[in-house]
């Protein structure tokens, strides 16, 4: 195997983030508690530089390196920038929350950066081994982050559940990978398609392998019926971690699906019957949209409600992927990126309502927000209507593009099911708007939000409207990732 330093240029983002994580780890040892802001500062500046590095090595052609383990292509560029940006957002929102609860430790940023590294590796993986590597790095960092609040029993329980179920899912994924490798003899995604054609699409071991891989994938995404961990982990983890968990890793999970199913196992998409991954994803998507939307109505805890809404959004993302066309993948990527922004904004507002000694976890904490702070009530209104998919917010366009793709492959019944469950889902989003605008406040105290969080949260909310009025830019970015 030839190794020369020019091969390291496309991998620069990962090398850089690894160095950044180690830097933060070491620098943090020498800081006192009052100086912790330095770790935060290094992380944030580092992430911005990371975006610059990713853009610097980006380009229109795909490059496959390290004997087929690593791929740098336009899709990876867009997704990496998305992950770094959303992580920046997540850490920014998290700062005040962590400070108020004595959780403002350097380990948060180290673990966070290792999670980011794992995500970057997942996005750029060209073999089952490297994607698993990235996945586990992300997962282990997240397990630790979920348990970050040592004093919380809820947190410990959530972390245990996440860890055990996550380990089980990883085992399933590996089992599936081993079956596929056994049949085809390769772990490289760029060669897998041909090998699968050679083996034959009806090979029973191959189908079984596919099933186990899809199971592992659905767990990571949080699709029904492998969604059980989502509400408990979202509820038990500190809200700052929930925000991080619900936004950036979804982009990575999307990349997981794209790399494994589309890049690797494209020929297995139909297999003529329900045995292909399109059929499997239809089942997962319909169940996710249904169960997610229905159970969210019954929730009185905002974090659980947003967790179930996540499950329903994941269903929509799967719709885009299962369409199997360029427009479908573009639509799914657009949806994922927009969803990450919406999720970050939604949890950001939940954290803004909280303060030292008080967790704004119940729906009733939103009552009368329009009187307490009209601006952030308006931002939450934009975020909620965007999640519901009401024009002119960007959430509508995300759903529209996915529906376009699904109808184009003659799966009109799936589109009808999707919109039907969206209507049911609209209820719990407008319930939040109702609480904010139509009810009297229970808690009259003003919101305490730092200036940086105020600015970024406002931009986040306004982006829902701005991207909704002008979606073409982001859409063409996503589209270029597939045609490029």
């Amino acid at each position: 195997m030839q190794f020369d330093t020019s091969q390291l240029i496309p991998v620069l983002p990962e090398i850089y983030i690894l160095s950044l994580a180690c830097l933060v780890l070491v620098v943090d040892l020498f800081l006192k508690d009052s100086q912790r802001i330095v770790s935060y500062g290094i992380t944030q500046v580092g992430l911005i530089i990371g975006i610059a590095v990713t853009l610097a090595v980006s380009g229109p052609k795909a490059q496959i390196l390290f004997d087929g383990s690593y791929i740098r292509d336009p899709m990876s560029d867009v997704l990496k920038v998305g992950i770094l940006l959303v992580s920046f957002l997540a850490f920014l929102y998290a700062k005040d929350y962590l400070r108020d609860r004595d959780l403002f430790k350097g380990e948060f940023y180290t673990l966070g950066l290792f999670a980011v590294l794992g995500m970057l590796i997942m996005v750029s993986a060209n073999s089952f081994l490297s994607i698993y590597l990235g996945l586990e790095l992300l997962a282990l960092s997240m397990y630790a982050l979920v348990a970050f609040n040592r004093a919380s029993t809820n947190g410990a329980e959530a972390a245990m559940k996440y860890f055990v179920l996550g380990a089980l899912a990883s085992g399933m994924l590996l089992y599936g990978i081993s079956m596929v490798y056994g049949m085809t003899g390769t772990i490289r995604f760029d060669q897998l398609g041909q090998e699968i054609q050679r083996v034959g699409l009806n090979n029973i071991v191959l189908i079984f392998g596919l099933v186990f891989i899809v199971i592992g994938l659905s767990f990571k995404l949080g699709a029904v019926p492998f969604h059980m961990w989502v509400p408990d982990v979202y509820h038990g983890a500190p809200t700052a971690v929930t925000l991080f968990l619900g936004s950036a890793p979804k982009i990575a999970a999307f990349a997981l699906a794209m790399r494994m199913l589309v890049d690797g196992m494209q020929p297995l998409v139909h297999s003529g019957t329900w045995a292909g991954w399109q059929g499997m994803l239809i089942v997962l998507a319909v169940l996710s949209m249904g169960i997610g939307n229905l159970i969210a109505i019954a929730q009185s805890n905002i974090k659980r409600m947003l967790a179930y809404s996540t499950i329903s959004h994941v269903g929509f993302i799967l719709l885009g992927i299962l369409a199997g066309t360029q427009e479908g993948y573009t639509a799914a990527m657009f949806y994922t990126l927009v969803y990450a922004l919406m999720s970050a904004g939604g949890f950001g507002i939940v954290m803004a309502l909280s303060r030292r000694g008080f967790e704004a976890e119940n729906l009733d904490d939103f009552k009368g927000l329009n009187q307490r702070n009209p601006w952030f009530a308006a931002m939450m209104l934009l975020l909620m209507f965007s999640m519901a998919g009401v024009p002119p917010t960007v959430g509508f366009f995300a759903k529209l593009f996915v529906l376009d793709a699904v109808v184009s492959v003659d799966l009109v019944w799936v589109a009808i099911v999707g919109v039907f469950f969206s209507i049911i889902g609209a209820f719990y989003y407008i319930r939040i708007v109702k609480l904010m605008y139509f009810d009297k406040p229970v808690d009259e105290s003003p919101l305490t939000i730092g200036a940086d969080t105020q600015l970024v949260l406002s931009l986040n909310g306004l982006s829902m409207l701005a991207l909704g009025l002008f979606p073409a830019g982001l859409l063409s970015l996503c589209s270029a990732a597939f045609t490029g």
Binding site: F385, V407, Y437, F438
Partner: protein
């Protein structure tokens, strides 16, 4: 001179941006806020006037067209234009909004900036619905209307407002999403989202029927047609006066417009096959809902049911054309034109009736008929207005209410005697419930101390009611300009639907 200005974009975005400015100005100076809102709404009306005066009635082509790509990857364009069907409705919208702003002048104390802004934004969005010629642009505006209305009913409404507004939102949303799927399906058949393109699209009968049903769900809820009408009485009763006015005057017409712009031209054969369904639902609305209105004790609910009955006339007029075309040969245009005139006329009359009820409610805080009696003794000028509008609602010749109803009944006669008979019963039932309400509320002896203490209408209320009375009279005595404007577009539509599409 105005032909080069993007008048439609101005009419849409001026109130929307004005609305955001009004919110930004806050509630510290409520008077300044109100005047800003009024100026913006009057300016929008003035900006929309060139649409009327610059309109070429001889052609059915789209006028004042603006077209730029918006989302090229999915062939969605920012494509606006008006014809004889949409233009009068836009003028109606820009005409009614300043009246709504004036009506809410004193009575809205809580966050007037948000109230005024919601109406302004809604005005812009509603004009957008009428002007849009790209199906996705239309859909975006269609759904976007729900947000300000949801806020208006929920924040400033009556005691049961939360139930009413959530019902309104979810009911309308439900209807609309099936329309979305139909639009996406047609996009894949045609290649882009142009509505005029969909008119040309060839579709088989089964496809047409499914698409027709999808559109029917959306428009039937909006109009509203029996049996999906139950959200309207709740919404009207709980909404503040201004909200009821906009809801009745404009929002219901958007449903009627949808039938003319989408259902009839895109699925003419399905419309022909299923015309018995629409006619049946319309006649039930006219007769049955008329009787339901008769027993109401809440004035607003009565007028709400009356609206449903009047809108039944509109849909009857639109769908009678197939039968008239078969039996008589000409006169089909009369049905459609009658429906359109009825839409505009009902816009004025129902707005006026809700404003009258608002005047009484502002004073006595009750909408129950039993709480009133002999109002004419203490409020003679108001009494005169209320009786006038009641007569118009009942369809008295000389008022605009008569023109539309007469045209539709004439057209129904040409179709089938029994349709005309049932439709004509509205003249009796409509007179019954409206005049009985007016008799109980306005005439007779002063019935209690509350009524005895009533003050007659002030200059502001007089201005609003007089403007509407003038509009009703002018349209009733001289409907020719309106009919002329829509003539070419209606003929074009009828010609288009007479040709089978598959």
């Amino acid at each position: 001179m105005f032909a080069d200005w993007p008048i439609l974009s101005l009419t849409i975005w001026l109130p929307i941006i004005g609305g955001f400015m009004v919110i930004a100005s806050g509630d510290r100076e409520p008077n300044a806020t109100r005047w800003t809102a009024l100026i913006v709404s009057v300016l929008t009306f003035l900006v929309s006037l060139p649409l009327w005066f610059g309109f070429d009635s001889s052609t059915a082509q789209m006028q004042f067209v603006e077209r730029t790509p918006w989302i090229p990857l999915f062939h969605i364009e920012y494509y606006l234009g008006v014809d004889g069907i949409s233009m009068p409705l836009i003028i109606l919208t820009t005409f009614v909004t300043p009246l709504v702003v004036i009506a809410g002048w004193e009575v809205i104390k809580y966050k007037p900036s948000l109230y005024m802004a919601s109406f302004l934004i809604m005005e812009g969005v509603m004009v957008g619905v009428f002007a849009a010629l790209d199906a996705m642009l239309f859909y975006v505006f269609w759904e976007a209307m729900l947000i300000p209305m949801f806020i208006i009913i929920g924040v400033w409404g009556g005691p049961n407002r939360v139930y009413a507004t959530i019902k309104f939102f979810l009911y309308t949303f439900l209807g609309s999403v099936f329309m979305l799927v139909a639009l996406i399906y047609m996009y894949y058949q045609w290649g882009n989202f142009e509505i005029l393109g969909f008119h040309q699209l060839k579709l088989g009968l089964t496809e047409q029927i499914l698409i027709f049903l999808a559109f029917l769900l959306a428009f039937a809820v909006k109009v509203p047609m029996w049996p999906v009408h139950t959200w309207l009485p709740d919404a009207h009763v709980e909404a503040p006066t201004g909200g009821s006015v906009i809801l009745a005057a404009i929002m219901l017409k958007i449903g009627g417009y949808g039938f003319l712009r989408f259902s009839l031209p895109i699925t003419p054969d399905a419309s022909h096959t299923l015309d018995w369904l629409i006619i049946g639902m319309s006649l039930i609305a006219v007769v049955y809902i008329g009787f339901v209105a008769l027993i109401q004790e809440d004035m607003k609910k009565l007028i709400a049911y009356s609206s449903i009955a009047h809108m039944g006339f509109v849909t009857l007029g639109f769908y009678i054309v197939f039968i008239v075309g078969q039996t008589a040969g000409s006169g089909a245009a009369l049905g459609v034109q009658g429906g359109m005139v009825q839409m505009v006329s009902h816009g004025f009359i129902s707005a006026a009736m809700f404003l009258c009820v608002g005047v009484l409610y502002d004073r006595m805080h009750s909408r129950q008929i039993s709480d009133y009696g002999g109002v004419v003794n203490t409020m003679p000028i108001f009494g005169a207005f209320m009786v006038f509008f009641a007569m118009a609602n009942a369809g008295l010749p000389g008022t605009s209410g008569f023109v539309g109803e007469f045209m539709v009944i004439l057209a129904s006669f040409r179709a089938d005697f029994w349709y005309a008979f049932l439709a004509a019963t509205t003249l009796i039932i409509g007179a019954a419930y409206t005049l009985w309400m007016v008799k109980r509320v306005v005439f007779g002896e002063v019935v209690n101390d509350g009524v005895a203490a009533l003050q007659d209408i002030n200059a502001r209320e007089y201005l609003v009611l007089a403007t509407l009375a003038l509009a009703v009279l002018i349209l009733g005595l001289w409907p020719a300009p309106l009919v002329e404007v829509m003539d070419a577009s209606v003929s074009n539509l009828l010609q288009h639907i007479s040709v089978p599409k598959y």
